[in-house]
Symmetry: none
Subunit: 204 residues, 4 copies
DNA sequence: AATGAATGAGGATTCATTCAT
DNA sequence: TATGAATGAATCCTCATTCAT
């Protein structure tokens, strides 16, 4: 009756395009109006297509959201990995990772909004947590390496990792939203805050 | 027909109690299931009362939520102000304020969830931002005083303030949720991270 | 969120009446147009009430159907039990039970239609089978008693019971539908067919 | 645009095969999940072909169902005619016809299910009735011949015919479904029940 | 103050059918 | 012959809110 979740439909070029359009418009709308306030009708109407189109490409509104969510998390993580690729020194990797995080967040404020929302719904929260854990895990690796090398004081790497995540997103959100700082300046601020933080906190 | 918002109904003692029950149950449910997934029916059924009761005490579901939201923000702010009351040194005020923030957040994880959600809905976002600004403003005062006194390097106080907010909430959320640290330990960590952060970042 | 199935709503007199109206109209329409071809809208429109009314009284269209189904089966069974109450001789009980079955079926042709349909949907089939088994079980008791008393030849009582059920419903349906025979005449025919059948078949 | 119903498309060998596949899969699914719960998509997906294929071979889902229905009824009738071919004695023809009916029903439980359903939908009911009448008509001929020959007591042949139909299908359904009897045994039971029935009932 | 009942717009989803390629 | 894409009416159901009692 229902399609098996395991077999994503094979799409033509035109199909891929439609799918991408839907994905993009949905992301925009979800971020602007909220998930619940954006109806499937809003999305298809915004594209000027029939309602069935939505369900040709996605199993449900929920699944679509999950897909956006996961791809956002994946994208952020990738851009951080790209930023630190080939860098040897762990503290520099941390700094570059944080910077990449700030820039990504600044550029994708809408996606940040989505993640915030997702955290508050029972059906999406697990996915958010999984993503956060993955991000934290990356940072933990660098932090532990830095501690082992004596570059920063020993301490609870996992706790620090979550600290990094927090400063990055919240500071970025707040500052960029205010419009008084350009992303690069924000990045500088956040990076030094973070380095100061891990330097001091580990001691605690 | 409808009551003017300015003139809240005068309630008997019993009435106050009912109102408080509704407020409490709604908070719990909103936090557990999400705002949209919690219906007015859920709330009144959970209390075993008729549907009319809800509308006797509140104008609408939205107004109720707003009330919860504002009172949560007010409560956090108050507990921070209480914590620093009478403390002269600005850096200590910052430390105590952050600590109070951590403890409050740890104790009211549900309310944190509500604020996260509120930020993502057009109708609630302004209220959230207002609350955040008020909180940041408090911190800005201490930071500027500390800068003036030379206790910390000069810098963008407002930016730092948002940094403090971010570390506090995110680190607390993540660490308390994990259940590996008790709130006091988390507070120690967060405070030293913050102090390290403002020490280093302002320099930038 | 959803109401617990275990707690049927307490209804006022007016409420009971509404519920009964819905039940009756739904039965009629399901029988006349088929379950799938009758929409919830059809039902509430037929009563001139809003759509929510339906869901105030029933959890779903499916549950409503199930309720009709079970009450129909219960009703038939009761009318058979009433018919044989106090009769000592097992063969007479069989005859009277069959007769009662014919008369009930003749009078409730619509419900018969519903049972036929229910048998063809995965979600309803189990309920139908359960009802049929109960009916058959009643007959089995009389048949075995009759066999023990030597009133009819020994044989597979359960098989015969289903035979009785089959003749009763199908013959009645076909004959009453044709309109050439009144129910009493049909009952005579069916009863003697059945008695002849169990007399002969058991021997096999 | 649409084909005239009278001129079925001329198909290639490959075409015939496709059509047969569709017919078979549809039958299986309709019987297993119900007519309404089986979508055209289900059918074409089950065959791994595109949606257009369905409408190349059939005008509509309804027409397809009707075709299955009629061919089922035709098939049963034929197998009964084959069974009695060349038999002179009318009572033996009846017995053999009933037996053939039992065996066919046992072997095609799915089709039986379809007929049951069809009876409950306004759009299919006439077809079902027509088929039943044809079947009954066959039996009536034998019954009247038997009565004329004095082999069974005179009576309402048409009524008896419907009785035969009823016992056959219902007893078979119930017994075969239970799995306690093989079709041949069931056939013996049903045949003697029927003969007993017509012997006794006609007298009434 | 409180209740059960009612409203009805709105939401997600399904599905028979059509069509361009 | 066949495909993937598209249509859009129709379906079941939810829910904030109102109202008579």
């Amino acid at each position: 009756m229902t399609q098996s979740a395991a077999a994503p439909r094979r799409l033509t070029a035109r199909g891929e395009e439609r799918r991408a359009q839907l994905l993009e418009l949905a992301t925009t709308r979800f971020a602007r109006d909220g998930y619940h306030s954006t109806s499937v009708s809003d999305i298809v109407n915004g594209l000027g297509v029939g309602k069935g189109v939505f369900y040709w490409y996605f199993d449900s509104k929920e699944q679509l959201f999950l897909e956006i969510l996961k791809s956002a998390q994946r994208d952020l993580r990738r851009s951080q990995q790209r930023a630190i690729d080939g860098v040897d020194e762990p503290v520099r990797r941390i700094a570059l990772g944080v910077r990449a995080g700030v820039l990504w967040t600044a550029e994708h404020a809408e996606l940040r909004r989505l993640v915030d929302f997702a955290r508050t719904e029972a059906s999406f929260a697990p996915a958010v947590r999984a993503g956060q854990r993955a991000l934290a895990q990356d940072a933990v690796a660098h932090l532990e390496e830095a501690m082992a090398a004596g570059a920063i004081p020993a301490g609870d790497a996992r706790a620090l990792a979550f600290g990094l995540l927090g400063v990055t997103t919240t500071m970025t959100d707040a500052l960029v939203e205010e419009g008084r700082h350009d992303p690069e300046t924000v990045a500088d601020l956040v990076v030094s805050f973070c380095l100061g933080g891990i330097g001091a906190a580990s001691a605690g």
